[in-house]
């Protein structure tokens, strides 16, 4: 256990190993670790960012959905009111048409009625004259009694 050259030999060996570690080991390892640390930090940050953007996307989707629902509701309402309007219109048209037809029929009936009355009136006048002729056995002067006959016809 004497102190001898081993002492200095160890000192030199020690320095060589430390130098080797300083030169060829430490920097590579520490750099790789730093880089990985950075990568992980970036990854985590990106994950957080993605989470945030996902959240905002979800909100946007919800907004869009709400908008779309409102739009659909609006369209449905519009269609419904339009349909009601159209039905109302059709009903109105039908009613008008009916009225028109009824009026036309009424007018025709009236016309027919008047015509019938006119012809009846004429015939009545003729019959009255003929009747009177038979009663009187005399010729009634159509020209003289025309006015009387007409007044009679008008009363019928």
């Amino acid at each position: 256990m004497d102190i001898n050259m081993t002492l200095l030999g160890q000192t030199v060996t020690f320095i060589v190993f430390v130098w080797f570690c300083y030169k060829f080991i430490w920097p590579f390892l520490i750099e790789a670790m730093r880089e990985r640390q950075k990568t992980i930090a970036e990854g985590l940050a990106a994950g957080e960012e993605a989470e945030r953007s996902r959240e905002s996307a979800r909100e946007e989707v919800a907004d869009r959905l709400k908008e779309a629902q409102a739009e659909a509701q609006r369209i449905v309402d519009q269609a419904r009111s339009q349909a009601a309007q159209m039905i109302e219109q059709a009903r109105q048209d039908a009613r008008d048409e009916g009225d028109r037809l009824k009026e036309a029929a009424n007018a025709e009936i009236e016309q027919e009625f008047n015509r019938a009355r006119e012809s009846l009136r004429g015939e009545v006048a003729t019959l009255a004259v003929q009747g009177a002729e038979r009663i009187l056995e005399a010729d009634i002067d159509r020209d003289r009694h025309g006015e009387l006959l007409n007044r009679l016809a008008a009363e019928l």
């Binding site: 256990m1 102190i3 001898n4 000192t11 020690f14 430390v18 080991i25 670790m33």
Partner: protein, 277 residues
Amino acid sequence: MAESSAEYIQHHLTNLTYGQCSDGAWQFAPCADGASMSFLSINVDSMGWSIGLGVLFCLIFRKAAKHATAGVPGSLQNAVEMLVEFIDDTCRSIFTHSNAIIAPLALTIFVWVFLMNLMDLVPVDWIPELAMALGVPYMKIVPTTDPNVTMGMALAVFALILFYSIRQKGAGGFLGELAFHPFPKVLAPVNFILESVTLLAKPLSLGLRLFGNLYAGEMIFILIALMYAGWAIGIFGGILQWAWAVFHVLIIILQAFIFAVLTVVYLAQAYDVEEEH
């Protein structure tokens, strides 16, 4: 076990030394005249094992460093990075200045010393007996039980302390720090003696703490190994050895860590400028 207990212990505590004997011949110890060798000798086993383990450290970590990727790490890279991160954190919390050498220094110390300490867990007889069979008379496989090894490292740390002290504070500033504390300037010589002792105590305590812990641990393993003489006591010895080994796992990691951390602390002190009293 033909030899006596004393011889057995002595054998296990003797390094394989190559050097010059007093008669001028270069050879492995012991010399023909039985005298110990001069300073110009070297513990071949300590050097061999420590360099081998240091190279092992370099190879493993270099492999991890070469394939280091910022992507998904493999298991080797994971293990190495865990150590690196641990050392890096420790250094950052102690050494607040900027110096690129500190962390690699601490890592090297921690892992290398740990590997050298780890040899303590190899059963004490295996490798020396194997070496004997191969014709090598002595083989101490735990380099940190050789004070040359621990003090050699402490010496390097001491050199760094001096270097950074002088670089950061200037020679004058460094001497001033030694001379003007803790008493007023009139007592400069007293201060200087006190502070010099403090300064010298750093590498001494650093090296001797590691050596003492590991040497004592090794000694206990050897003493336990002495019990493998009979069946009953042998089984008891086996249990003891296992228990001590489990406890020793803590010690070898702790001592490696202490050496590394104290080195960082001392260097941080070398950087720090103490406030004037």
